[in-house]
């Protein structure tokens, strides 16, 4: 894995900034290769790396190599992230009122606000954090949205999308059976070129 404050994004290329959840969802069905076919570089803030390591994904972080860039926020950004974490904790869709629990997604949101990421995509699954990202005018997607795009771009089939989401579910990620079936139906309905 690479560690850098800033990695330039060449014209025509889209990078992603990720929170912990979508990256674990990519690790669970071995889909980091697919993710990096769409986003050649994925930026992950330090708070998310701490969470990933606590969940036992160190080997996968290392295996991702230079395509996963760990970013340390500045002091001022860390302060902003703590404020965003408090906002997420207070949101009606939040499952946990403890702000510290939301530091990963808060850091990902603050990192996405950097001008360098203005044309990149933030990966975020949780409803409360997505609501805050929407308020901030950020462009984001959850991991299932990336898979759906991959089907639409003919990188994988609708059946492969379903299998990957089911693997996430079997590994503990909260994608319900009904949700997976509905996303699968969407994937079967609309395939188009990227």
């Amino acid at each position: 894995m690479a560690q850098a404050h800033r990695i330039a994004c060449p014209p025509g290329v889209t990078h992603a900034v990720t929170n912990t959840g979508p990256l674990i969802s990519a690790f669970q069905p071995n889909s980091v290769g697919l993710l990096t076919q769409i986003f050649p570089v994925i930026h992950v803030p330090v708070a998310c790396v701490v969470e990933l390591e606590a969940h036992g994904w160190e080997a996968e972080i290392s295996a991702a190599g230079r395509q996963l860039v760990i970013v340390k926020l500045t002091g001022s950004e860390e302060k902003q992230a703590r404020a965003v974490a408090r906002k997420i904790a207070r949101h009606p869709d939040s499952h946990d009122p403890v702000a510290a629990t939301h530091l990963g997604e808060a850091q990902a949101i603050v990192l996405s606000r950097r001008p360098a990421h203005r044309n990149n995509v933030l990966l975020l699954d949780e409803m409360a954090a997505r609501a805050i990202a929407r308020e901030a005018g950020l462009r984001f997607s959850g991991f299932p949205g990336v898979l759906l795009l991959a089907v639409q771009g003919k990188l994988i089939s609708a059946e492969e999308l379903k299998a990957r989401l089911e693997l996430c579910r079997a590994s503990g990620t909260h994608y319900g059976a009904g949700f997976i079936q509905r996303v699968y139906e969407l994937a079967r309905r609309g395939r188009r070129r990227l």
Binding site: P11, T14, F27, Q37, N119, S141, G142, K154, Y175
Partner: protein
């Protein structure tokens, strides 16, 4: 070996219609960024140049290409 676990398994996640919006959102960003790279043109290259270019593809890219070729051959 440490057991790998999911993150915040009780968190409320997006709905299926939002997944559709997510995919459209990414497609829009990718398209905007591609257009910033300059105008796109249809390029005709000698077959030998195309075959030589394959030598620079990674394993994942070759597997993807094989999938497309297989789909075309069976269509």
């Amino acid at each position: 070996m440490k057991r790998r676990s999911a993150h915040e398994p009780k968190a409320k996640l997006m709905s299926a219609p939002e997944v559709w919006e997510d995919a459209q959102q990414i497609a829009e960003v990718l398209r905007e960024n591609l257009l910033k790279a300059g105008p796109l043109v249809r390029l005709h290259v000698p077959m030998s140049v195309f075959l030589a270019a394959l030598d620079n593809l990674s394993k994942d890219e070759l597997l993807l290409l094989r999938k497309h070729v297989d789909a075309r051959l069976t269509a």
